[in-house]
Protein backbone atom coordinates (compact mmCIF):
# COMPACT_ATOMS: atom_id res chain seq x y z
CA UNK A 1 0.00 0.00 0.00
CA UNK A 2 1.05 3.59 -0.57
CA UNK A 3 0.08 6.38 1.84
CA UNK A 4 0.40 10.15 1.74
CA UNK A 5 0.33 11.47 5.29
CA UNK A 6 0.29 14.94 6.82
CA UNK A 7 2.31 15.70 9.98
CA UNK A 8 1.21 15.43 12.83
CA UNK A 9 0.09 11.90 12.05
CA UNK A 10 -2.63 10.49 14.33
CA UNK A 11 -2.00 7.12 15.97
CA UNK A 12 -4.96 5.59 14.11
CA UNK A 13 -3.15 6.25 10.79
CA UNK A 14 0.16 4.92 12.09
CA UNK A 15 -1.46 1.69 13.25
CA UNK A 16 -2.66 1.04 9.67
CA UNK A 17 0.91 0.94 8.37
CA UNK A 18 2.48 -2.48 7.74
CA UNK A 19 6.00 -3.49 6.77
CA UNK A 20 6.44 -3.14 3.02
CA UNK A 21 4.12 -0.13 2.77
CA UNK A 22 5.36 3.05 1.10
CA UNK A 23 4.79 6.41 2.78
CA UNK A 24 5.22 10.04 1.70
CA UNK A 25 4.97 12.70 4.42
CA UNK A 26 4.20 16.42 4.23
CA UNK A 27 4.58 18.99 6.99
CA UNK A 28 7.20 19.95 9.55
CA UNK A 29 9.74 17.34 10.58
CA UNK A 30 13.01 17.39 12.52
CA UNK A 31 16.44 15.85 12.17
CA UNK A 32 18.06 14.23 15.19
CA UNK A 33 21.22 12.18 15.55
CA UNK A 34 23.13 10.86 18.58
CA UNK A 35 23.70 14.22 20.28
CA UNK A 36 20.18 15.60 19.77
CA UNK A 37 18.66 12.38 21.15
CA UNK A 38 20.93 12.58 24.16
CA UNK A 39 20.11 16.23 24.82
CA UNK A 40 16.36 15.81 24.34
CA UNK A 41 16.29 12.97 26.85
CA UNK A 42 18.44 14.92 29.33
CA UNK A 43 16.01 17.88 29.14
CA UNK A 44 13.04 15.57 29.53
CA UNK A 45 14.61 14.03 32.63
CA UNK A 46 14.96 17.51 34.13
CA UNK A 47 11.33 18.24 33.32
CA UNK A 48 12.29 20.89 30.76
CA UNK A 49 10.66 21.21 27.31
CA UNK A 50 12.37 20.58 23.98
CA UNK A 51 12.12 23.25 21.24
CA UNK A 52 9.33 21.55 19.26
CA UNK A 53 6.35 19.34 20.06
CA UNK A 54 7.06 15.99 18.44
CA UNK A 55 3.73 14.31 19.17
CA UNK A 56 2.68 12.63 15.91
CA UNK A 57 5.84 14.00 14.33
CA UNK A 58 8.53 12.66 12.05
CA UNK A 59 12.12 12.33 13.27
CA UNK A 60 14.77 11.94 10.59
CA UNK A 61 18.14 10.39 11.51
CA UNK A 62 20.12 12.82 9.38
CA UNK A 63 22.93 15.33 9.48
CA UNK A 64 22.49 17.49 6.37
CA UNK A 65 24.89 19.44 4.20
CA UNK A 66 23.67 23.04 4.53
CA UNK A 67 24.40 26.38 2.92
CA UNK A 68 23.62 29.88 4.17
CA UNK A 69 21.18 31.59 1.82
CA UNK A 70 19.32 34.91 2.05
CA UNK A 71 19.82 35.15 5.80
CA UNK A 72 18.49 31.60 6.28
CA UNK A 73 19.59 28.11 5.41
CA UNK A 74 19.31 25.88 2.37
CA UNK A 75 19.49 22.09 2.62
CA UNK A 76 21.97 20.92 -0.03
CA UNK A 77 22.00 17.18 0.72
CA UNK A 78 20.14 15.25 3.39
CA UNK A 79 20.19 11.47 3.30
CA UNK A 80 19.71 9.27 6.36
CA UNK A 81 22.44 8.19 8.76
CA UNK A 82 22.85 4.71 10.30
CA UNK A 83 19.99 4.31 12.78
CA UNK A 84 21.48 1.59 14.96
CA UNK A 85 23.53 4.25 16.78
CA UNK A 86 20.28 5.73 18.07
CA UNK A 87 19.17 2.36 19.48
CA UNK A 88 20.75 3.61 22.75
CA UNK A 89 18.08 6.30 23.03
CA UNK A 90 15.17 5.52 20.74
CA UNK A 91 12.84 3.56 23.01
CA UNK A 92 12.99 6.22 25.78
CA UNK A 93 12.73 8.94 23.14
CA UNK A 94 9.54 7.44 21.69
CA UNK A 95 8.04 7.09 25.16
CA UNK A 96 8.94 10.67 26.11
CA UNK A 97 8.01 12.54 22.91
CA UNK A 98 5.61 10.18 21.04
CA UNK A 99 6.72 10.73 17.44
CA UNK A 100 4.83 8.72 14.78
CA UNK A 101 7.58 7.94 12.30
CA UNK A 102 11.34 7.51 12.68
CA UNK A 103 13.18 7.71 9.35
CA UNK A 104 16.69 6.39 8.90
CA UNK A 105 18.62 3.60 7.29
CA UNK A 106 19.75 0.13 8.28
CA UNK A 107 16.97 -0.63 10.74
CA UNK A 108 16.77 -0.64 14.52
CA UNK A 109 16.76 -3.20 17.29
CA UNK A 110 14.17 -5.04 19.36
CA UNK A 111 13.93 -2.36 22.10
CA UNK A 112 12.87 0.24 19.55
CA UNK A 113 10.47 -2.21 17.89
CA UNK A 114 8.90 -2.91 21.29
CA UNK A 115 8.45 0.81 22.01
CA UNK A 116 6.87 1.27 18.57
CA UNK A 117 4.40 -1.47 19.31
CA UNK A 118 3.58 -0.02 22.72
CA UNK A 119 3.25 3.64 21.78
CA UNK A 120 2.19 3.43 18.13
CA UNK A 121 5.09 4.40 15.89
CA UNK A 122 6.84 2.98 12.83
CA UNK A 123 10.37 2.99 11.45
CA UNK A 124 10.96 3.72 7.78
CA UNK A 125 14.02 3.30 5.59
CA UNK A 126 14.99 5.98 3.12
CA UNK A 127 17.69 4.86 0.66
CA UNK A 128 21.05 5.52 2.32
CA UNK A 129 23.20 8.10 0.56
CA UNK A 130 20.35 9.31 -1.66
CA UNK A 131 20.95 12.75 -0.25
CA UNK A 132 20.09 15.01 -3.17
CA UNK A 133 16.86 13.11 -3.72
CA UNK A 134 15.95 13.67 -0.06
CA UNK A 135 16.92 17.35 -0.12
CA UNK A 136 14.55 17.92 -3.06
CA UNK A 137 11.59 17.29 -0.73
CA UNK A 138 12.66 20.06 1.66
CA UNK A 139 10.72 23.21 0.83
CA UNK A 140 12.10 25.39 3.60
CA UNK A 141 14.31 25.31 6.67
CA UNK A 142 12.12 26.63 9.44
CA UNK A 143 14.93 26.82 11.93
CA UNK A 144 17.80 25.12 13.64
CA UNK A 145 18.06 24.28 17.33
CA UNK A 146 21.10 23.30 19.39
CA UNK A 147 23.41 24.66 16.69
CA UNK A 148 26.34 24.47 19.13
CA UNK A 149 26.26 20.67 18.69
CA UNK A 150 27.66 21.29 15.19
CA UNK A 151 25.93 21.20 11.81
CA UNK A 152 25.48 17.41 11.60
CA UNK A 153 24.26 16.94 15.19
CA UNK A 154 22.01 20.02 15.48
CA UNK A 155 18.22 19.67 15.28
CA UNK A 156 17.10 21.00 11.89
CA UNK A 157 13.42 21.86 11.59
CA UNK A 158 12.35 21.24 8.01
CA UNK A 159 9.19 21.85 6.05
CA UNK A 160 8.87 18.96 3.62
CA UNK A 161 6.49 18.13 0.83
CA UNK A 162 5.93 14.49 -0.13
CA UNK A 163 9.15 13.38 1.55
CA UNK A 164 9.69 9.81 0.41
CA UNK A 165 9.42 7.13 -0.73
CA UNK A 166 9.76 5.87 2.84
CA UNK A 167 9.62 2.10 3.17
CA UNK A 168 7.99 0.90 6.39
CA UNK A 169 10.43 -1.68 7.79
CA UNK A 170 9.32 -1.83 11.45
CA UNK A 171 5.59 -1.47 12.07
CA UNK A 172 3.61 -1.01 15.27
CA UNK A 173 2.49 -4.66 15.33
CA UNK A 174 5.85 -6.23 16.11
CA UNK A 175 6.94 -6.90 12.52
CA UNK A 176 10.44 -6.04 11.30
CA UNK A 177 11.57 -6.35 7.70
CA UNK A 178 15.17 -6.13 8.94
CA UNK A 179 14.65 -9.08 11.29
CA UNK A 180 13.14 -11.02 8.37
CA UNK A 181 16.19 -10.31 6.17
CA UNK A 182 18.55 -11.22 9.05
CA UNK A 183 16.75 -14.54 9.36
CA UNK A 184 17.27 -15.30 5.66
CA UNK A 185 20.96 -14.35 5.94
CA UNK A 186 21.35 -16.65 8.97
CA UNK A 187 19.73 -19.47 7.01
CA UNK A 188 22.23 -18.86 4.19
CA UNK A 189 25.27 -18.87 6.50
CA UNK A 190 25.97 -22.66 6.54
CA UNK A 191 25.73 -22.80 2.73
CA UNK A 192 28.20 -19.91 2.46
CA UNK A 193 30.60 -21.54 4.92
CA UNK A 194 30.58 -24.69 2.88
CA UNK A 195 31.10 -22.69 -0.37
CA UNK A 196 34.24 -21.24 1.22
CA UNK A 197 35.47 -24.51 2.72
CA UNK A 198 34.94 -23.30 6.29
CA UNK A 199 34.33 -26.26 8.60
CA UNK A 200 34.33 -24.62 12.04
CA UNK A 201 31.14 -22.95 13.25
Amino acid sequence: MEYRLRIPIPESDVRKLKIGDIVYVTGTMVTARDQAHRRALALHKEGKPIPIDLRGGVVFHCGPVVKKKDGGWEIVAAGPTTSTRMELFQAEFIEAFRPSIIVGKGGMGPRTAEAMKKFGAVYCDFTGGAAVLAAKAVERVRGVEWFELGIPEAMWILEVKDFGPLLVTIDSHGNSHHANVAKIVEENRPKIYSMLGITSK
Binding site: G63, P64, T82, G129, A130, I192, M195
Partner: protein, 292 residues
Protein backbone atom coordinates in the same frame (compact mmCIF):
# COMPACT_ATOMS: atom_id res chain seq x y z
CA UNK B 1 59.66 23.54 -5.23
CA UNK B 2 55.96 22.87 -5.69
CA UNK B 3 53.63 25.88 -5.94
CA UNK B 4 51.56 25.81 -2.72
CA UNK B 5 48.63 27.66 -4.31
CA UNK B 6 48.50 25.08 -7.11
CA UNK B 7 48.28 22.26 -4.54
CA UNK B 8 45.63 24.11 -2.53
CA UNK B 9 43.48 24.73 -5.63
CA UNK B 10 43.91 21.12 -6.73
CA UNK B 11 42.86 19.87 -3.28
CA UNK B 12 39.63 21.89 -3.60
CA UNK B 13 39.03 20.61 -7.15
CA UNK B 14 39.65 16.97 -6.16
CA UNK B 15 37.37 17.20 -3.13
CA UNK B 16 34.67 18.76 -5.33
CA UNK B 17 35.03 16.09 -8.02
CA UNK B 18 35.02 13.31 -5.43
CA UNK B 19 32.00 14.67 -3.56
CA UNK B 20 29.82 15.31 -6.62
CA UNK B 21 30.73 12.80 -9.31
CA UNK B 22 31.36 9.10 -8.69
CA UNK B 23 34.06 7.42 -10.81
CA UNK B 24 32.73 5.67 -13.92
CA UNK B 25 33.64 2.18 -12.67
CA UNK B 26 31.42 2.71 -9.60
CA UNK B 27 28.51 4.04 -11.65
CA UNK B 28 28.85 1.16 -14.10
CA UNK B 29 28.88 -1.42 -11.30
CA UNK B 30 25.73 0.07 -9.73
CA UNK B 31 23.93 0.02 -13.08
CA UNK B 32 24.95 -3.60 -13.56
CA UNK B 33 23.73 -4.43 -10.04
CA UNK B 34 20.30 -2.96 -10.90
CA UNK B 35 20.01 -5.48 -13.72
CA UNK B 36 20.86 -8.36 -11.39
CA UNK B 37 18.16 -7.66 -8.80
CA UNK B 38 14.74 -9.25 -8.88
CA UNK B 39 12.88 -7.96 -5.78
CA UNK B 40 10.92 -4.71 -5.92
CA UNK B 41 12.61 -3.33 -2.79
CA UNK B 42 16.14 -3.98 -4.08
CA UNK B 43 15.28 -2.50 -7.48
CA UNK B 44 13.65 0.57 -5.91
CA UNK B 45 16.72 1.23 -3.77
CA UNK B 46 19.12 0.94 -6.69
CA UNK B 47 16.83 3.16 -8.79
CA UNK B 48 16.95 5.78 -6.02
CA UNK B 49 20.75 5.50 -5.90
CA UNK B 50 21.11 5.88 -9.68
CA UNK B 51 18.64 8.77 -9.79
CA UNK B 52 20.49 10.44 -6.91
CA UNK B 53 23.82 10.08 -8.75
CA UNK B 54 22.32 11.80 -11.81
CA UNK B 55 20.79 14.57 -9.68
CA UNK B 56 24.05 15.21 -7.82
CA UNK B 57 25.89 15.66 -11.11
CA UNK B 58 23.27 17.89 -12.72
CA UNK B 59 22.71 20.03 -9.61
CA UNK B 60 26.42 20.00 -8.68
CA UNK B 61 25.69 18.84 -5.16
CA UNK B 62 27.47 16.25 -3.00
CA UNK B 63 26.15 12.78 -3.85
CA UNK B 64 25.78 11.97 -0.13
CA UNK B 65 25.27 14.26 2.87
CA UNK B 66 28.06 12.43 4.68
CA UNK B 67 30.90 14.03 2.77
CA UNK B 68 33.31 12.04 4.90
CA UNK B 69 36.36 12.47 7.02
CA UNK B 70 38.91 13.96 4.66
CA UNK B 71 41.62 11.50 3.63
CA UNK B 72 44.29 11.95 0.96
CA UNK B 73 46.75 9.50 -0.57
CA UNK B 74 49.91 11.10 -1.93
CA UNK B 75 52.45 9.39 -4.17
CA UNK B 76 55.63 11.42 -4.39
CA UNK B 77 57.82 10.75 -7.43
CA UNK B 78 61.51 10.45 -6.63
CA UNK B 79 62.27 13.03 -9.32
CA UNK B 80 59.47 15.43 -8.37
CA UNK B 81 61.46 17.49 -5.90
CA UNK B 82 60.55 18.92 -2.52
CA UNK B 83 57.02 18.58 -1.14
CA UNK B 84 57.61 21.30 1.44
CA UNK B 85 54.36 23.14 2.16
CA UNK B 86 52.10 20.43 0.70
CA UNK B 87 50.42 19.41 4.02
CA UNK B 88 49.60 23.05 4.83
CA UNK B 89 48.29 23.66 1.30
CA UNK B 90 46.04 20.59 1.50
CA UNK B 91 44.67 21.66 4.88
CA UNK B 92 43.92 25.11 3.44
CA UNK B 93 42.24 23.49 0.43
CA UNK B 94 40.15 21.31 2.76
CA UNK B 95 38.89 24.36 4.67
CA UNK B 96 38.06 26.15 1.43
CA UNK B 97 36.31 23.09 -0.01
CA UNK B 98 34.17 22.83 3.12
CA UNK B 99 32.97 26.38 2.57
CA UNK B 100 32.82 26.48 -1.23
CA UNK B 101 31.29 23.14 -2.28
CA UNK B 102 29.96 22.97 0.55
CA UNK B 103 30.96 19.86 2.50
CA UNK B 104 29.50 18.88 5.84
CA UNK B 105 31.94 19.67 8.63
CA UNK B 106 32.56 16.23 10.11
CA UNK B 107 35.78 16.50 12.11
CA UNK B 108 35.10 16.50 15.85
CA UNK B 109 37.33 16.10 18.92
CA UNK B 110 37.05 12.40 19.80
CA UNK B 111 36.19 12.98 23.45
CA UNK B 112 34.53 16.40 23.75
CA UNK B 113 32.81 15.83 20.34
CA UNK B 114 33.32 19.53 19.57
CA UNK B 115 33.16 20.11 15.81
CA UNK B 116 36.09 22.09 14.39
CA UNK B 117 33.69 23.44 11.75
CA UNK B 118 36.11 23.18 8.82
CA UNK B 119 36.96 19.47 8.44
CA UNK B 120 40.44 19.91 9.87
CA UNK B 121 41.86 19.02 13.28
CA UNK B 122 44.49 16.84 14.92
CA UNK B 123 46.02 14.68 12.12
CA UNK B 124 43.10 15.69 9.86
CA UNK B 125 43.00 15.84 6.85
CA UNK B 126 44.68 12.44 7.01
CA UNK B 127 47.65 12.23 4.65
CA UNK B 128 48.99 8.84 3.52
CA UNK B 129 52.39 9.21 1.85
CA UNK B 130 54.10 6.79 -0.52
CA UNK B 131 57.14 7.15 -2.74
CA UNK B 132 57.14 6.07 -6.37
CA UNK B 133 59.25 6.34 -9.52
CA UNK B 134 58.46 9.42 -11.61
CA UNK B 135 58.57 13.19 -11.86
CA UNK B 136 55.11 13.91 -10.47
CA UNK B 137 53.14 14.24 -7.25
CA UNK B 138 49.97 12.15 -7.44
CA UNK B 139 47.17 13.20 -5.11
CA UNK B 140 44.01 11.19 -4.44
CA UNK B 141 41.16 12.70 -2.46
CA UNK B 142 39.35 9.91 -0.63
CA UNK B 143 36.62 11.34 1.61
CA UNK B 144 35.51 8.45 3.83
CA UNK B 145 31.95 8.17 5.13
CA UNK B 146 31.36 7.37 8.80
CA UNK B 147 28.72 4.67 8.29
CA UNK B 148 31.02 2.51 6.21
CA UNK B 149 34.15 3.29 8.24
CA UNK B 150 32.30 2.12 11.38
CA UNK B 151 32.09 -1.29 9.71
CA UNK B 152 35.81 -1.96 10.16
CA UNK B 153 37.06 -5.20 11.66
CA UNK B 154 40.38 -6.61 12.73
CA UNK B 155 41.43 -10.03 13.95
CA UNK B 156 44.65 -11.78 14.79
CA UNK B 157 43.58 -15.06 13.21
CA UNK B 158 45.50 -18.13 14.37
CA UNK B 159 48.00 -19.12 11.65
CA UNK B 160 46.80 -22.72 12.09
CA UNK B 161 43.32 -21.72 10.89
CA UNK B 162 44.87 -20.81 7.54
CA UNK B 163 42.90 -19.52 4.57
CA UNK B 164 39.60 -20.84 5.98
CA UNK B 165 40.15 -18.65 9.06
CA UNK B 166 40.67 -15.61 6.84
CA UNK B 167 37.55 -16.31 4.79
CA UNK B 168 35.43 -16.89 7.89
CA UNK B 169 36.52 -13.63 9.44
CA UNK B 170 35.71 -11.69 6.26
CA UNK B 171 32.29 -13.25 5.71
CA UNK B 172 31.35 -12.93 9.40
CA UNK B 173 32.35 -9.24 9.28
CA UNK B 174 30.16 -8.62 6.24
CA UNK B 175 27.20 -10.48 7.75
CA UNK B 176 27.45 -8.59 11.04
CA UNK B 177 27.56 -5.27 9.11
CA UNK B 178 24.22 -6.02 7.44
CA UNK B 179 22.71 -2.89 5.93
CA UNK B 180 24.67 -0.44 8.08
CA UNK B 181 27.49 0.48 5.65
CA UNK B 182 25.05 1.31 2.76
CA UNK B 183 25.42 -1.74 0.53
CA UNK B 184 26.15 -2.54 -2.23
CA UNK B 185 29.59 -2.03 -0.70
CA UNK B 186 33.18 -2.56 -1.68
CA UNK B 187 35.12 -4.71 0.78
CA UNK B 188 38.82 -4.09 1.36
CA UNK B 189 40.79 -6.89 3.00
CA UNK B 190 44.36 -6.56 4.27
CA UNK B 191 46.15 -9.78 5.20
CA UNK B 192 49.49 -10.00 7.01
CA UNK B 193 52.02 -7.41 8.08
CA UNK B 194 51.54 -5.88 11.50
CA UNK B 195 48.09 -4.83 12.73
CA UNK B 196 48.51 -1.27 11.44
CA UNK B 197 49.81 -2.37 8.04
CA UNK B 198 46.97 -4.90 7.58
CA UNK B 199 44.48 -2.09 8.23
CA UNK B 200 46.27 0.28 5.88
CA UNK B 201 46.30 -2.35 3.11
CA UNK B 202 42.57 -2.93 3.63
CA UNK B 203 41.88 0.77 3.18
CA UNK B 204 44.29 1.24 0.28
CA UNK B 205 42.60 -1.65 -1.58
CA UNK B 206 39.49 0.49 -1.79
CA UNK B 207 41.30 2.83 -4.20
CA UNK B 208 41.50 0.08 -6.79
CA UNK B 209 38.82 0.38 -9.53
CA UNK B 210 35.94 -2.08 -9.38
CA UNK B 211 36.63 -5.18 -11.44
CA UNK B 212 40.41 -4.86 -11.31
CA UNK B 213 41.88 -8.04 -9.84
CA UNK B 214 45.04 -8.39 -7.77
CA UNK B 215 48.12 -9.20 -9.89
CA UNK B 216 48.78 -12.39 -7.88
CA UNK B 217 46.43 -15.06 -9.34
CA UNK B 218 45.93 -16.76 -5.94
CA UNK B 219 44.80 -13.47 -4.36
CA UNK B 220 42.66 -12.70 -7.42
CA UNK B 221 40.95 -16.07 -6.96
CA UNK B 222 40.34 -15.31 -3.28
CA UNK B 223 38.76 -11.97 -4.21
CA UNK B 224 36.36 -13.65 -6.63
CA UNK B 225 35.50 -16.41 -4.19
CA UNK B 226 34.75 -13.94 -1.39
CA UNK B 227 32.63 -11.73 -3.68
CA UNK B 228 30.53 -14.70 -4.74
CA UNK B 229 30.06 -15.77 -1.11
CA UNK B 230 29.11 -12.24 0.03
CA UNK B 231 26.55 -11.99 -2.76
CA UNK B 232 25.01 -15.26 -1.60
CA UNK B 233 24.14 -13.85 1.85
CA UNK B 234 20.90 -12.18 0.73
CA UNK B 235 21.73 -8.92 2.56
CA UNK B 236 21.23 -6.93 -0.64
CA UNK B 237 21.10 -3.18 -1.34
CA UNK B 238 20.70 -1.21 1.93
CA UNK B 239 20.42 -4.53 3.78
CA UNK B 240 16.79 -4.77 2.72
CA UNK B 241 17.32 -8.08 0.94
CA UNK B 242 18.62 -8.85 -2.55
CA UNK B 243 21.29 -10.40 -4.72
CA UNK B 244 23.99 -7.72 -4.71
CA UNK B 245 25.54 -6.96 -1.30
CA UNK B 246 28.98 -5.99 -2.60
CA UNK B 247 30.18 -4.59 -5.91
CA UNK B 248 33.67 -5.99 -5.39
CA UNK B 249 36.19 -7.38 -2.93
CA UNK B 250 39.78 -6.17 -3.05
CA UNK B 251 42.50 -8.01 -1.14
CA UNK B 252 46.14 -7.17 -0.58
CA UNK B 253 48.78 -8.84 1.57
CA UNK B 254 52.11 -8.36 3.26
CA UNK B 255 54.48 -10.90 4.74
CA UNK B 256 53.93 -11.28 8.47
CA UNK B 257 55.50 -12.76 11.57
CA UNK B 258 55.56 -16.56 11.60
CA UNK B 259 53.44 -16.46 14.78
CA UNK B 260 50.78 -14.11 13.35
CA UNK B 261 48.01 -13.88 10.79
CA UNK B 262 46.52 -10.36 10.99
CA UNK B 263 43.34 -9.80 8.94
CA UNK B 264 41.70 -6.40 8.51
CA UNK B 265 38.39 -5.57 6.82
CA UNK B 266 37.54 -2.01 5.78
CA UNK B 267 34.21 -1.28 4.14
CA UNK B 268 33.32 1.29 1.50
CA UNK B 269 29.73 2.39 0.83
CA UNK B 270 28.16 2.49 -2.66
CA UNK B 271 29.10 6.19 -2.78
CA UNK B 272 32.71 5.13 -3.32
CA UNK B 273 34.21 8.55 -3.78
CA UNK B 274 37.72 9.15 -5.02
CA UNK B 275 39.42 11.64 -7.31
CA UNK B 276 43.02 11.54 -8.48
CA UNK B 277 45.33 13.98 -10.24
CA UNK B 278 49.02 14.43 -10.91
CA UNK B 279 51.08 17.56 -10.67
CA UNK B 280 54.16 17.20 -12.87
CA UNK B 281 57.54 18.76 -12.17
CA UNK B 282 56.87 21.38 -14.89
CA UNK B 283 53.71 22.52 -13.07
CA UNK B 284 51.19 20.90 -15.42
CA UNK B 285 48.19 19.14 -13.89
CA UNK B 286 46.45 16.01 -15.17
CA UNK B 287 43.16 14.68 -13.75
CA UNK B 288 43.28 10.87 -13.89
CA UNK B 289 40.04 9.69 -12.28
CA UNK B 290 37.48 11.74 -14.16
CA UNK B 291 37.22 12.78 -17.80
CA UNK B 292 37.40 16.55 -18.21
Amino acid sequence: MVDAKLVEDLAVDLLRLAAIELPSDVKGALEKARGQESSDIAKANLDAILENIRLAESMKRPVCQDTGLIVFFLNVGHDFGSVKGVPEAIAKGTKRATEEIPLRPNAVHPITRKNSGDNTGAYVPILNWSYVEGDYLEITAFPKGGGSENMTFFSMVKPGEGIAGIKKFVIDSVISSGGQPCPPTIIGVGIGGTADLAMKLAKKCLLRPIGQRHSDPEIAKLEEELLKAINSTGIGPMGLGGNITSLDVHVDYAHCHTASLPVAVNTQCWAARRATARIYKDGSVEILSHRR
